[in-house]
């Protein structure tokens, strides 16, 4: 009863201050960006500049035909997409809108100099010089990379390019049997795929950003001293704050997910995750805040923790880069669990395992925070 009345009182105070409205504005801005700015399909293909250094017109013609027929199968755009950030060329955007995501742009240039200039102007461009070696009577294809590509990537590119050509030779052996564990694995549209990161940072971790500020505000205004002479226990006082964060997170999270992915989200599962992750975030925020006596002092640590947790989004967007240190971050399974709630066939086991784990960790953190605040809150 005391908890409910404290919660309602805190809620009234929160509604009177700017804070909750700022969170709602933030959610509306995110919705606007996702709905009106981010395209459904984001191609991160690269631009390939090709110079045909062949005098014989017939060979040139053969090569041109070869290029136009085999372009997307010969070189896979993902090699470069995985380089991370690559500028989207206008043509690539058009390609992505034409339901053919990831199609690369191939441009023919007249000289090696023009190819190099083009590559210098756009550092996300790859070059290729095709010539004819009279001695070996073979076509020679030289891939010109920028220079930052790793050795593994270069080898992979070579293998990737050689494989379809080697397959045409007599004596070619292919004893590879492909087993796909989930044939129906779903790939989310770009804007829906962005949601887990935004939902985690803005709605799930809302308490991590702000809950300590609440406590310090009460402390500085003397509210906490007044509370010590009431029957209210510290646990109820802290739980009431956690409740406000939970409500804010659920409101902003639900707004965002229902506006951007109403046909994707399994709302029940999503709600369970929001509750679990929000509790974890608030408990962590409380615990970190308990080591400081002013908001100013605690903010540095809180922001640092948030930045570290946000690093998991790098592996979320580039699954091939998932070192153990990132997989150990709590935000890593959180992102993938939220993504599961947006898939047609979510992995219920994964969702509820992590929901349970973070509720448990949240409870432990909350208990620790309560123990800390018992000693320090009235000081």
């Amino acid at each position: 009863m005391k908890l409910i009345s404290t919660f309602l009182k805190d809620l009234k105070l929160s509604l009177r201050s700017y804070y909750i409205y700022i969170e709602i504005i933030m959610a509306l801005l995110i919705i606007a960006v996702l709905l009106f700015v981010v395209p459904d399909n984001m191609s991160s293909g690269y631009r390939l500049l090709v110079h045909l250094d062949i005098e014989n017109a017939e060979i040139s013609q053969v090569v041109e035909q070869f290029m136009s027929k085999n372009d997307s199968s010969m070189i896979d755009e993902q090699i470069f997409a995985d380089l991370d950030i690559s500028k989207l060329a206008e043509e690539e955007l058009e390609a992505s809108e034409s339901e053919e995501p990831g199609v690369q742009t191939i441009e023919l240039v007249d000289s090696v100099e023009l190819l190099r200039t083009g590559m210098e102007e756009d550092r996300n461009t790859v070059g290729m010089v095709v010539s004819f070696n009279e001695e070996t009577a073979k076509l020679a294809m030289e891939f010109v990379l920028q220079g930052y590509e790793s050795e593994q990537m270069r080898n992979l590119l070579q293998a990737q390019f050689a494989a379809p050509m080697t397959a045409l030779l007599p004596g070619y052996v292919d004893q590879t049997e492909l087993t796909v564990l989930d044939e129906a694995a779903e790939k989310l549209p770009a804007k829906v795929n962005l949601l887990p990161v935004l939902l985690l940072l803005n709605s799930s971790f809302v308490g991590l950003f702000i809950i300590a500020a609440y406590i310090f505000m009460d402390k500085e205004e003397g509210t906490i001293r007044a509370l010590t002479v009431t029957p209210l226990r510290i646990r109820e006082y802290l739980l009431s704050k956690v409740g406000i964060m939970l409500l804010t997170g659920i409101v902003t999270g639900s707004m965002t997910v229902l506006a951007v992915a109403p046909r994707h989200v399994h709302y029940g599962h999503f709600l369970v995750l929001m509750i679990s992750f929000n509790l974890f975030g608030s408990a962590l925020g409380l615990l970190i805040g308990s080591f400081y006596d002013t908001l100013t002092k605690s903010m540095g640590s809180l922001y640092l923790v948030i930045i570290v947790l946000a690093l998991a989004s790098v592996s979320y967007f580039m699954p091939a880069f998932s070192p153990l240190v990132i997989r150990l971050l709590p935000s890593y399974p959180m992102l993938f669990a939220i993504r599961e709630t947006l898939l047609k066939s979510p992995d219920i086991g994964y969702i509820y395992t992590w929901a349970g784990v973070f509720i448990a960790i949240g409870l432990v953190l909350f208990a620790l925070a309560e123990w800390r605040y018992r000693k320090t809150i009235t000081v």
Binding site: F143, M165, L178
Partner: protein, 335 residues
């Protein structure tokens, strides 16, 4: 006059040093830069990850390592379990007939399965030369897109920290009602404002230098960096003042700063990802122009004329914001 301005600055700095806030705000962004620097070589260098049984032929494992990262696991079951994890990793299990089973989860990035298949193909056909000569060369450009865009982002993003100091100082003053005391002190209002703003002006410049050094950009034109960082510092300072005078409680101030991350992110990521024809939608943002300048500097392609033009735009936008807000800032300072 200068003494009075510095007195205000020093008082804020002393107060910040007492609760370790100033060292923290100085060091925290640099920690982030160090963290980022550690990250950069790993991100993007590995395109494929593969798990295979411990019993796999060592020469085969070594061969695959030339193309990607290899994990050795106990048996097929362990490999299947690992493939089902959330990251992109393929399983390769040698078969009794000399072939290989390639295990994919099904949700990997488009094209990566074909990459692993091509590696297996080249292993299985060591004597077959492709009918064309393949060669790879490079332009000698070692700066990866991630290092470039990440550094630019860090330099622009760090401007918030300077603004944060100004904002927190002001909110603190308002909370303890010390602002009113300024009205009866010998200091002029604008001197007080300048004194308060000084840390917000200096910090982003220091941060910009430090981030560039940490990220290894020692060859860039540091005078250009200083000029651009000053412009970023102006934005940062105005942000600090606007938020600081609007909020009388820290909670609102913290939330307001959080909301400011959005235009910064939108400007930087927009500048990186939006095609040229869509770039004008970001022209309103001073962070966009700051990003453009920093990017040119990092690429060592910055012309002074462009730097001045971008700075002029930033100062014009900042002046406009200040003109629109100055009454409110004045009122806030009195409150």
């Amino acid at each position: 006059m200068l003494r009075r301005i510095l007195a205000v600055t020093m008082r804020d700095l002393r107060s910040g040093m007492r609760d370790a806030m100033i060292p923290y705000i100085l060091i925290a962004p640099l920690l982030v830069a160090v963290l980022f620097k550690l990250f950069v070589p790993g991100v993007g260098s590995t395109v494929i990850n593969v798990a295979m049984p411990e019993t796999a032929e060592p020469a085969f494992a070594e061969y695959v390592e030339r193309y990607g990262e290899v994990e050795l696991l106990e048996d097929r079951d362990a490999i299947v379990k690992r493939v089902q994890a959330m990251d992109d990793l393929f399983g390769i299990v040698p078969k009794a007939d000399g072939g290989y089973e390639l295990i994919a989860a099904g949700d990997e990035l488009t094209g990566t399965v074909e990459m692993v298949q091509s590696v297996l193909s080249s292993w299985q056909n060591p004597d077959l030369e492709p009918p064309v000569e393949l060669k790879i060369s490079d332009m000698g450009w070692e700066l990866s897109p991630l290092a470039r865009f990440g550094t630019n982002f860090l330099v622009v993003f760090m401007s918030v920290f300077g603004g944060m100091i100004v904002m927190l100082n002001l909110v603190e003053e308002k909370q303890y009602n010390t602002m009113a005391a300024i009205n009866v002190s010998a200091i002029r209002r604008w001197e007080y404002v300048l004194g308060k703003a000084l840390p917000g002006l200096i910090l982003p410049i220091l941060h910009a230098f430090a981030v560039l050094v940490i990220m290894g950009f020692t060859e860039v034109d540091y005078l250009q960096v200083a000029v651009v960082a000053f412009a970023i510092a102006l934005i940062s300072m105005i942000i600090g003042f606007v938020v600081g005078v609007y909020q009388s409680e820290p909670i609102g101030a913290v939330a307001s700063m959080k909301i400011l991350f959005l235009p910064i992110m939108a400007s930087v990521f927009g500048a990186i990802f939006l095609p040229e024809k869509w770039q004008p939608v970001l022209y309103w943002s001073p962070f966009y122009w700051a990003y453009r300048s920093v990017d040119d500097i990092v690429l060592q392609q910055a012309a002074w004329s462009d730097i001045w033009l971008h700075n002029l735009i930033i100062i014009a936008i900042t002046a406009l914001v200040f003109a629109l807000m100055h009454k409110r800032i004045k009122q806030g300072m009195r409150a």
